[in-house]
Amino acid sequence: MGTVQLFPEFVSETLGLSGVLGDVVGSLVAAAVVGNIVLAFTGVAGPWAKRKITAAFTDRIAVDRIGPFGLLIIPAAAVQLLAKELIVPEGVDRPTWDLAPLVLPASALLGFSVIPMGRLGPVNLQIADPEVGLALVFAFASIASISLVMAGYASNNKYSMLGGLRAVAQNLAYEIPLIVTAMSVVIFAGTLQTSGIVAAQSDVLFSVGGFDVPTWYAFVNPFAFVLFLTANMAEIGRNPFDIPEAPTEIVAGYQTEYSSAYFVLFYLGEFVHIFLGGAILAVTFLGGASGPGPESIGFIWFVVKLWGFFLFTQWARSALPRVRIDQLIEIGWKGMLVLSFANLVLTAVIVGVIA
């Protein structure tokens, strides 16, 4: 895989730097660019796109007063949220209470470091491509639950506590099926390296009327795709699995006591996690940045897939009821876990026998 030039290398080469300095500068610049792309998505999604999409699903108009299509609500909301008073309740456990809102977005942003986001012109938007890429991205994403427990425990609020406990129970129940299902992809691709997994999906599965259907694992193994999608929804805590915050039950769960900038950080973290969930889904099942047209516009396809996943989460939120905590655990341990192992064994047998 060494043929593809990573983003930091491209930066240091363009700047004419080499050695340690080149590595450091290149990595910093690359991380800043990728980080800002993701944050920009979140900025658009949080105050604007989410409202517009939900409104479209529920027969409403949503923000349309400031700017074209209400787009200027984004800076307005940013100013408004940051200008609010940061209320620190009595008896919170600091500094845990202050760290929790930082850990959540950080864990999600870290995950993007190994995501191959495709080419934009000459640039290959991937910061690092380690051998264990897929394992690493799951590891990063899992840090999120620690943040939720920290917030739930440190807030000195019973609703927060319940939310934090729910988050742990949910993550335990769904992380395993998620990773086991991802392993079936690894068996197909024969590598944990994210770029390798994407590359393995570039063959043609079959052709229909001159249109080539690629070997995206969503087409090769739709069953695993559906499993993964479901577990992913639970992992990022979206409907019908949004129970760690379940507003009508436990007010806002772990984030009940957070306001102002801390609230923004939590909100941001959640959205970055949705996009990271979409990115993992795209890499493992939807051929990463591949799509019609030249390879140099791959990034655009990647963005389309990310937003497609985001749209899906909002659709689910508008349409689906929320499961109960005990039902959620039951679905996770008794249903998803069994199915994901069945899928893994089946895949292993098929790959072992046929390939």
Binding site: P247, S318, R322, R324
Partner: protein, 555 residues
């Protein structure tokens, strides 16, 4: 006065006892007779309440304690237990329990009817009668630090109520912290996204499971009864009912007052006005049930569910019709004693076609809700077999309306105690046997369709009504002074259940006592029965399925 003679066919099945037979049944428990316009009344010994109620319940079949009215006279206190039969609500009897002026104590009826618990607490709170043998006699609507009883005669309303915050019971007080147990005390509300207003649930949890839940009400108490008592029958009371169940069920509430007052003052309502009333009331029912569906989806689906907005959209269409009809969107004030305030809006054709448009699109909407909500497997997982309310328990608590009908109790005053134009029309009472959250929702959704049937028949009638026979109001004197010492209790089927009004006239133009029987008040009492042992989300769902409006609970 004697019992009304029931003339409908259903009542034949239930054997009715004459007042004399009842007097014989009660024997020496009775010390006097005090008949009301609606029912025979027996004055009994204050220490024989349980014996009397239990004889009437077990042996004469009066299984529905609709209301407990308390009031103070110059020389005595009095509690009235208004009993009915679920099988035939036209069979009524009033048990009148006097209490001593200096030391107002009488026996509690809680051991016979669970619903008496809250009703007697309210009587204690507002009037000051104490009930012996009551399991938990403390204030229910007013804060526990309140001084005096506001509806008693010697209440000094100018006395300032000074109660500092530390005097209020602290919900986090030591007695909730039990080192031995693993339970956790949790306040759900008064400010919580799913309490449908200001309701406070004192909840004890074991993990996520509810060990005990106790509703704490009164945050929205406005002393509506007192306000009605200081208004004149003819004009000043009618605007208040709109403010009890304010979820656009206003006309249904107005009808409760109108029915009681019209029977009290012996006023006949022209047939044309009855048809308009019936149509308007059913529009209100649709609006109220749509909101119930919307908020229930909010509770179960989460707060960005499409169902909520869809149902609100449909409610908006009914609301437009009601606005055309009454000139108001929420506080209609459309009924008058003896009729309605004005005729249908001109041009009538436009109103009719608008109404028919609404009725035409309604089946499509209902179909959509069934696709979106009731057919959803996750929704069924969440609501079927949760929040169980067995029929016997529902009756014991005096649950009525969709809550009772969701538990398979075939009880609807529109059919069983006919008023308005209902008995002339073709429609059905909806019941479901599931006794769970799902059944209660289903009952409401099916009732919407029945209401649409009623509205359609009313529109047909109104369209063909001869122009010279459109009398909207009977000839009612400007000032009504019903005879001294006449008492009446009348109920109608409101959106949430049996909404009753008790009135005592004292010869003036204002009622001496005005008592509201709120269906939500009785229905909410069943919450612990449904919720104990369930998970928090089920408690929220059960609360949503009860469809309470705190404005009516607290009055």
């Amino acid at each position: 006065m004697s019992l009304e003679v029931p003339d409908t066919t259903e009542t034949d099945e239930v054997p009715e006892r004459t007042p004399d037979e009842l007097a014989a049944l009660l024997g020496d428990l009775v010390i006097d007779r005090d008949d009301h316009l609606n029912a025979p009344g027996f004055v009994i010994r204050p220490d024989a309440v349980q014996e009397t109620l239990s004889r009437l319940k077990q042996e004469a079949g009066y299984d529905h304690l609709s209301l407990v009215t308390a009031q103070e006279y110059e020389n005595r206190y009095e509690s009235i237990y208004h009993l009915k039969k679920f099988d035939d609500p036209t069979q009524e009897v009033s048990v009148v329990v006097p209490a001593d002026k200096d030391r107002p104590v009488s026996e509690s009826g809680e051991a016979v009817f669970r619903t008496a618990d809250w009703h007697e607490r309210e009587a204690y709170d507002l009037i000051g009668i104490e009930y012996d043998d009551h399991p938990d006699l403390r204030r229910i609507l007013l804060p526990e630090t309140w001084q005096g009883h506001p509806l008693s005669m010697d209440y000094d309303k100018d006395r300032p109520q000074i109660a500092t915050l530390p005097e209020h019971a602290n919900p986090l007080a030591d007695h909730h912290r039990d080192a031995e147990s693993d339970t956790m005390f949790l306040n759900i509300g008064p400010h919580h996204p799913a309490t449908h207003g200001v309701l406070h649930l004192k909840t004890i949890l074991d993990g996520e499971q509810v060990i005990d839940v106790e509703p704490d009400i009164g945050y929205l108490h406005r002393c509506e009864e007192q306000m009605a008592q200081s208004g004149t029958y003819r004009h000043q009371i009618m605007p208040y009912p709109d403010r009890w169940d304010y979820i656009s069920a206003g006309l249904l509430n107005e009808w409760a007052y109108a029915r009681a007052a019209e029977d009290l003052a012996d006023i006949d309502v022209p047939e044309y006005a009855q048809v308009i009333r019936t149509m308007g009331a059913e529009m209100c029912r649709i609006a109220a049930h749509m909101l119930a569906l919307a908020t229930f989806a909010l509770d179960v689906n989460g707060d960005f569910t499409a169902t909520f907005m869809y149902a609100i959209n449909d409610r908006e269409r009914v609301q437009d019709l009601l606005e055309d009809l009454t000139g108001q969107r929420l506080m209609f004030n459309y009924f008058r004693l003896g009729g309605v305030v004005w005729d249908l809006p001109e041009p009538r054709e436009e109103f009719f076609s608008k109404t028919r448009d609404f009725l035409d699109q309604l089946p499509g909407s209902v179909e959509e809700y069934h696709d979106l909500v009731t057919a959803n497997e996750i929704f069924q997982m969440r609501t079927i077999d949760t929040g169980i309310l067995p029929p016997a328990v529902a009756k014991d608590y005096g649950a009525t309306g969709p809550v009772a009908r969701g538990s398979g109790i075939d009880y609807d005053l529109r059919r069983d105690d006919p008023y308005g134009y209902y008995d002339e029309l073709d429609w059905d009472v909806v019941t479901e046997d599931g006794c769970d959250n799902y059944s209660r929702l289903l009952v409401r959704m099916r009732e919407v369709e029945e209401s649409a049937k009623i509205i359609e028949q009313c529109v047909d009638l109104l369209e063909d009504w001869p122009e010279d026979e459109r009398t909207i109001q009977a000839n009612v004197p400007r000032t009504l002074r019903p005879d001294d010492d006449t008492e009446i209790y009348r109920a109608v089927e409101a959106a949430k259940g049996e909404l009753g009004i008790y009135m005592r006239a004292d010869g003036t133009d204002k009622p001496a006592r005005f008592k509201i029987r709120s269906p939500c008040f009785s229905n909410l009492q069943t919450l612990p029965e449904m919720a104990n042992g369930e998970y928090i989300p089920d408690v929220i769902a059960a609360l949503g399925s009860l469809d309470i409006v705190l404005g009516e609970v607290d009055r």
